[in-house]
């Protein structure tokens, strides 16, 4: 038996009721269908899958924002009590989230400094807010002058740095980043990914990166989970997943990746069977 994982999800299930229609019984969508996963200290975990695979629902559960229908989340071996507000609050201090669109995830009417203190205030943290703001804004490679300015004064890449700084403010052990670079230009994507790698090295952060770009996930992750329709279909090191995929869905995903040689995808692997 190895050490207790930092974060663990066991048999997590989440269903959503779909809107009522005129015909038949109300349908239920199973977004996450019994997923178990672990995250170690300072681990960089990549989560890949297409729309509807349940990866964003997982992110929401693992950050304590959504209560699973069944299954448990453990943080440092302790079960997170989703029914208890103070329980989820205490948990949320350790897991923070970064979203895809840095244009809509920052309040345009708050200065950067105000945005950065929001999680501190909502978590009821009594640390010196101004001091913490200066620390985190510098940690993401911006200057303290940024704190007085509004989001509109920053480019997409800079805004994503601010969103990461906000996630860092409560000093979490884990950052869950849901498609953090897909809205950014290619040249900026690498800057933001490098920042995440640096933060892990500097603060020992564990990171869950959710992305549909397989090449991005391959380059930064220690371990990769492939999700399809609410299930983890394959997991392993990047070498295992990308060099020797076992599950047909992983193979389909990989075979659809275009490369600079302009080769036809699906050429050497089984064609996709799933409907669009």
């Amino acid at each position: 038996m190895t050490a207790t994982p930092l974060l663990e999800g066991r048999n997590i299930v989440k269903r959503y009721k779909l809107p009522r229609t005129n015909f038949g019984p109300r349908k239920v969508l199973t977004a996450v269908d019994g997923v178990s996963l672990t995250l170690g200290e300072s681990e960089f975990l990549g989560l890949v899958g297409e729309s509807g695979s349940g990866k964003s629902t997982m992110a929401s559960i693992l950050t304590g924002q959504t209560q699973p229908d069944s299954g448990d989340v453990f943080f440092r071996g302790e079960r997170v009590n989703f029914r208890n507000r103070s329980g989820t609050r205490a948990f949320q201090q350790h897991v923070q989230m970064v979203f895809q669109d840095p244009y809509s995830s920052l309040d345009p009417r708050l200065t950067v400094g105000q945005s950065l203190t929001e999680p501190l205030r909502s978590l009821g943290s009594d640390v010196d807010h101004a001091k913490r703001c200066r620390e985190v804004i510098e940690a993401v490679g911006l200057t303290t002058a940024a704190l007085e300015r509004y989001p509109h004064a920053f480019s997409g890449g800079q805004r994503q740095r601010i969103a990461i700084a906000r996630a860092l403010a409560p000093r979490p052990s884990i950052i869950v980043a849901d498609e953090p670079v897909s809205a950014l230009d290619v040249s900026i994507q690498a800057q933001v990914l490098n920042l995440l790698l640096d933060l892990r090295a500097e603060f020992g952060l564990s990171i869950i990166l959710i992305a549909h770009d397989l090449a991005v996930v391959e380059q930064v992750s220690d371990r990769v989970l492939v999700m399809q329709t609410g299930n983890v279909v394959e997991q392993g090191t990047p070498d295992e997943i990308f060099e020797n995929p076992q599950h047909p869905y992983t193979r389909t995903l990989l075979s659809a990746v275009l490369n600079l040689e302009g080769e036809f995808p699906f050429e050497h692997l089984a064609p996709a069977t799933a409907d669009e």
Binding site: G156, V186, S187, A190, N194, Q219, V257, L258, G262, F266
Partner: protein, 316 residues
């Protein structure tokens, strides 16, 4: 043949395009790549006559010696769809949410004077041409009932319904999932190939261009900084920007040592009007010198041309 020569566009006093020149032959597939703010979408909008009202454009955009620039909206309405057509990134907002897909698809058929009675069968044919499954059923669907990939197929069919000579596709696959994207890309390629439509593909996705296009024009700061044969450009880029862009793109199965940083381009693309004088890339370029303060001359080597004072060494 579509010919763009010395196209300049500015909004107010802010220059957006600084003299774009390129051509696209009949049936040719040209990819225009670059980051946001490089001017690629403005170039496309100038061709289809959809520039914002505050924009002023000079230069020439002509299709088989028929001038497209400076037409009135009335004239452009007759030209769009028949001579030039465009498909956008967001498949949902490109369609009318209140109109069934079948009826919507029949609208551009008026351009071809197809009688109403025949419209339905032609629409079904169009649906089949873009491999939309169960066309009979889709005919009666509303856009929101289709998936992103299916909607983009509908948009593609509609933009080709008027049998245009040039199709401009602006990030047509960006919002799609990987496997859907690959199939839509394949479809786009085969459809323009079959109909001999010239394609201008606007994207930041280099592998997509590698897959679909024969030629690439790389844009930065409102200039085409490098242009040429796709394989040549991607294998042996000469302009520093092109090389940096290719290097910063994550490629599957590229082995890195754990802890290595990913190659990136420092800084970010400046806002329009804030690009440095001379070479627009010089403030982010590792090889820039004082010489770069003047605009580099364009060096042509066959069909490959680039404008860089310190080009990447050509392979021996």
């Amino acid at each position: 043949m579509l010919r763009i020569s010395n196209l300049r566009v500015s909004i107010g006093d802010t220059p957006i395009l600084n003299g774009i020149s390129t051509t696209c032959n009949k049936g040719q597939r040209l990819g225009i790549v670059g980051e946001s703010g490089s001017g690629k979408t403005m170039t496309a909008l100038a061709v289809v006559g959809l520039l914002p009202e505050s924009a002023t454009a000079t230069g020439d955009v002509s299709l088989n010696d028929f001038e497209l620039l400076g037409r009135t909206e009335e004239e452009m309405t007759r030209i769009r769809g028949r001579k030039v057509s465009m498909i956008f990134q967001d498949s949902l907002t490109s369609l009318d949410p209140l109109m069934k897909v079948g009826r919507q698809m029949s609208l551009p058929l008026k351009l071809r004077n197809i009688a109403k009675a025949e419209a339905k069968s032609t629409v079904i044919e169009l649906m089949e041409s873009v491999q939309l499954d169960r066309p009979g059923e889709r005919y009666q669907s509303y856009p929101h009932q289709l998936s992103g990939g299916q909607r983009q197929r509908v948009n593609l069919a509609m933009s080709l319904a008027g049998e245009p000579e040039v199709l401009i596709a602006d990030e047509p696959t960006t919002a799609l999932d990987v496997t859907v994207k690959a199939r839509v890309a394949k479809l786009l390629q085969s459809v323009v190939d079959r109909t001999e439509t010239s394609l201008i593909l606007i994207t930041h996705d280099l592998p997509l261009v590698a897959f679909i296009c024969e030629r690439i024009a790389v844009m930065y700061g409102g200039y085409i900084v490098e242009e040429g044969d796709t394989t040549e450009i991607l294998r042996n880029p000469r302009h520093r920007y092109t090389a940096a862009l290719i290097a910063s793109m994550p490629v599957l199965r590229t082995r890195r040592n754990k802890g290595d940083r990913l190659p990136s381009i420092p800084g970010s693309v400046p806002a329009a009007g804030d690009f440095p004088s001379g070479c627009p890339f010089r403030n982010r370029c590792a090889a820039a010198t004082a010489q770069c303060e003047t605009m580099p001359e364009t060096v042509s080597n066959g069909s490959h041309r680039f404008a860089c004072w310190h080009p990447v060494e050509a392979p021996a």
